[in-house]
């Protein structure tokens, strides 16, 4: 329903009054707290419909003032290229009101301050979503960007007024950014990424609080990748997409440098939503390793990775690896097969079919296969095999030498992998090999096992096309600019060095002179 008669004028004069208080020189704590009390007494802060109307009007007035300054400050003859200079006076004034409500609001309602914040955030989100829907290409994100910057700086200060609720405040921001994600408000995408990666938000939600903030930030990164995924499938990117892509790389590099464990623990989730063609971006994530770990140089002669202490430690994976398997009702069949290895209900022969997408979805996803399902199947089966391995070596009468490849021959898992590599078509096989190669990271049990799987499939296969494709999957990850994951390097080095794989006599090495040169140069760079 429309606002009550006179309501908007009332809100407008309150905003003017608040502006006057903010302009008072010096700290005006008393004036601020009196004004907040007046709002409480006026019924504007009960967290009800009136509250929504009040803040929706304030947002409208502040944004309108900001955008009206667009013409004034930068002269009429502004080109669309040159950024408009906007006045943020009204936005900053309005933004300060939120912090003041939290700071000066009646203390006995401690928890309701957070509710008021969440209520105001919800009003702001709806307002932005509606403004973007109405204005489409002429939507201007900058006033809202400024509003959130103010709130991020104010609410993440160490002021005692908000210090106690800092994690809930971060979660409130995270939920707001999730609701404003690029898939929902595409015209807010650049502002969104700058806010999400802001030094007053990203490091705070990733630090402390015993990592409770990690799932929230992981969800925001997934929001970003899901938006970009369709545009990143092709190698040629338009200017705006390329700009967003480069911005994403910068954010990932900050995460790789400052929060590598975060990338390590969620690599599986991110690989689900990064298109296979985004090799360098995926390599950044797969190259992350725990800060307390020292990686031996992969080109060290006679490096015995089996003897590395870390190689027998399982990596921490916070993603739900079997989610896709469960969603497609495949988990029970997989478990059954791994346990009994019986040809239950022709599980293996149906496997390929079950990995295909229905044609309608295939058109949207740009591939005929369900990539998250393949990723989930490969990692889940591998993890079960590793568990069986560890159980077996733990109970072995005679200590099993982990270095002997034989211990890996948990045949049920290898049956599944061999079935896939033989029965899938080129595209399917590529996606399957990608799922395996995505586990080649820092020294851990998964890197060790999946490195073995790739080399085993290479050695055991009698089709050159398969050997070529395994090589291609490794190779395309090595010829891109750095970084390169440690597990990828040691696997490729083993492949080209160990005579068992007879690598240099494969005909596809010599399919063209430049390819041959490329192999030699990569081999040299791998030492």
């Amino acid at each position: 329903e429309p606002d009550p008669a006179g309501f908007r004028d009332q809100v407008s004069s309150l905003l003017m009054e608040w502006y006057g208080i903010c302009e008072l020189p010096g700290a005006n704590d008393v004036a601020c707290s009196h004004f907040i009390l007046k709002l409480h007494q006026g019924g504007f802060l009960k967290g009800d419909d009136m509250t929504d109307r009040f803040f929706r009007c304030l947002t409208e007035f502040a944004v309108a003032h900001c955008l009206s300054s667009e013409g004034i400050n930068s002269g009429s003859a502004q080109s669309s290229q040159q950024p408009q200079s906007l006045s943020f006076l009204a936005i900053d004034t309005y933004a300060k009101l939120l912090f003041s409500i939290l700071k000066y609001g009646p203390v006995e309602q401690g928890s309701s301050k957070l509710l008021v914040l969440q209520r105001i955030m919800a009003v702001t989100i709806r307002y932005i979503q509606k403004d973007a829907e109405d204005k489409k290409a002429s939507f201007n994100p900058r006033p809202y960007f400024r509003l959130f910057i103010n709130w991020l700086l104010d609410l993440n200060s160490s002021d005692p007024a908000v210090d106690g609720a800092s994690f809930q405040i971060l979660v409130t921001f995270s939920n707001a950014f999730h609701a404003l994600q690029p898939l929902k408000v595409p015209s807010f995408s650049f502002a969104w990424l700058e806010l999400v990666s802001h030094r007053s938000f990203m490091p705070k939600i990733l630090t402390g609080n015993s990592q409770k903030g990690w799932p929230y930030f992981q969800r925001l990164l997934v929001d970003l990748f899901q938006f970009m995924e369709p545009f990143l499938r092709n190698a040629e990117l338009g200017v705006p997409v390329h700009f967003l892509y480069k911005g994403t790389l910068r954010v990932l590099l900050v995460l790789l440098h400052d929060f590598p464990e975060f990338l390590c623990d969620y690599h599986f989730t991110f690989c689900d939503v990064i298109p296979p063609s985004c090799i360098q971006m995926r390599n950044i994530i797969l190259s992350a390793f725990p800060r307390n770990m020292r990686l031996p140089d992969p080109s060290t002669p006679n490096l015995k990775i089996d003897l590395l202490a870390e190689i027998s430690q399982s990596p921490r994976i916070l993603s739900e690896v079997d989610a896709a398997l469960k969603a497609k009702q495949m988990k029970a069949d997989v478990d059954e097969y791994l346990k009994t290895r019986q040809q239950v209900s022709s599980f293996l022969s149906e496997l390929k079919q079950r990995l295909l997408l229905p044609p309608s979805e295939a058109a949207i996803s740009g591939t005929r296969y369900d990539v998250p399902l393949i990723n989930s199947l490969v990692l889940y089966v591998g993890m079960q095999a590793i568990q069986q391995l560890q159980a077996r070596t733990a109970h072995a009468q005679t200590p099993v030498n982990p270095a002997s490849l034989a211990v890996f021959l948990i045949s049920a898992a290898l049956d599944i992998f061999q079935t896939l590599i033989v029965e899938l078509d080129t595209e399917g096989r590529y996606l399957f090999l990608n799922a395996v190669a995505n586990q080649l990271r820092y020294p851990n049990t998964h890197t060790h096992y999946f490195s073995f799987v790739l080399l085993y499939l290479f050695a055991e296969s009698n089709q050159e096309i398969i050997q070529e494709q395994i090589t291609r999957v490794l190779f395309e990850r090595l010829i891109v600019n750095r970084p390169h994951p440690w597990g990828l390097l040691i696997t490729f080095i083993e492949l080209i060095k160990n005579p068992r794989y007879n690598f240099w006599n494969r005909s596809f090495i010599r399919c063209a002179p430049e390819i041959e040169k490329l192999f030699e140069s990569v081999a040299r760079s791998c030492g």
């Binding site: 020189p25 010096g26 700290a27 290229q81 950024p83 943020f88 969440q118 955030m121 919800a122 989100i125 709806r126 979503q129 829907e133 489409k136 290409a137 002429s138 939507f139 201007n140 994100p141 900058r142 960007f145 910057i149 103010n150 700086l153 409130t172 995270s174 939920n175 707001a176 999730h178 609701a179 690029p182 898939l183 929902k184 408000v185 595409p186 015209s187 807010f188 995408s189 650049f190 502002a191 700058e194 802001h198 799932p215 929230y216 992981q218 969800r219 997934v222 899901q226 938006f227 369709p230 545009f231 338009g238 997409v241 700009f243 689900d272 939503v273 739900e320 989610a323 896709a324 998250p372």
Partner: protein
């Protein structure tokens, strides 16, 4: 609609905005590319709000010189011939600013130590007579606002306090 990632983290029950098709998203991204946030959109004027503003004659600088935010400036001020008084001035009269923080760091470097209960800086005048895990006791110099009993003479000065117990849980 969030694919493999369950939306199980909660959040405001905001009406989920519509999902758009790729072409629309690309068009909106293109439009947004011409309205990028500018560096100044993130900057907030570091407005220093004096506690008790005095009308400064226009012949004087109207804004603080940037040098007051330079740590090296405060290291120099801590040295002779300036001494600690300037540091104390910044500490007590420029509260909640970076220069207060810098002045405090400099005072600490000169082995002044802040007593949270008395809001006063103390410096050992000699080795304390008693030291335990909880406190130390001895003679100290402290920087104080002194009001003489005849109320004629008052102002900041350094004074001596003997037999003072500095409890460490009051040490900031």
């Amino acid at each position: 609609d969030l694919g493999a990632i369950g939306d199980n983290l909660g959040g405001p029950t905001v009406t989920a905005g519509p999902m758009h098709d790729q072409l629309y998203n690309l068009q909106m991204l293109e439009a947004a590319y011409h309205k990028l946030p500018q560096p100044k959109d993130s900057e907030r004027a570091r407005s220093y709000i004096p506690k008790h503003p005095v009308a400064t004659p226009s012949s004087y600088p109207q804004v603080q010189a940037p040098i007051v935010n330079n740590p090296a400036f405060w290291e120099r001020l801590g040295m002779e011939p300036y001494g600690a008084d300037t540091l104390f001035f910044a500490f007590y009269y420029q509260q909640n600013t970076y220069q207060q923080y810098l002045a405090a760091k400099e005072l600490k470097k000169q082995s002044w130590r802040f007593h949270k209960k008395y809001n006063t800086w103390f410096q050992r005048h000699e080795e304390p007579k008693v030291t335990t895990d909880e406190y130390e006791q001895g003679t100290y110099v402290y920087f104080d606002f002194h009001i003489a009993n005849d109320d004629l003479q008052h102002g900041w000065c350094q004074r001596i306090k003997t037999e003072f117990t500095f409890e460490y849980n009051y040490l900031e």
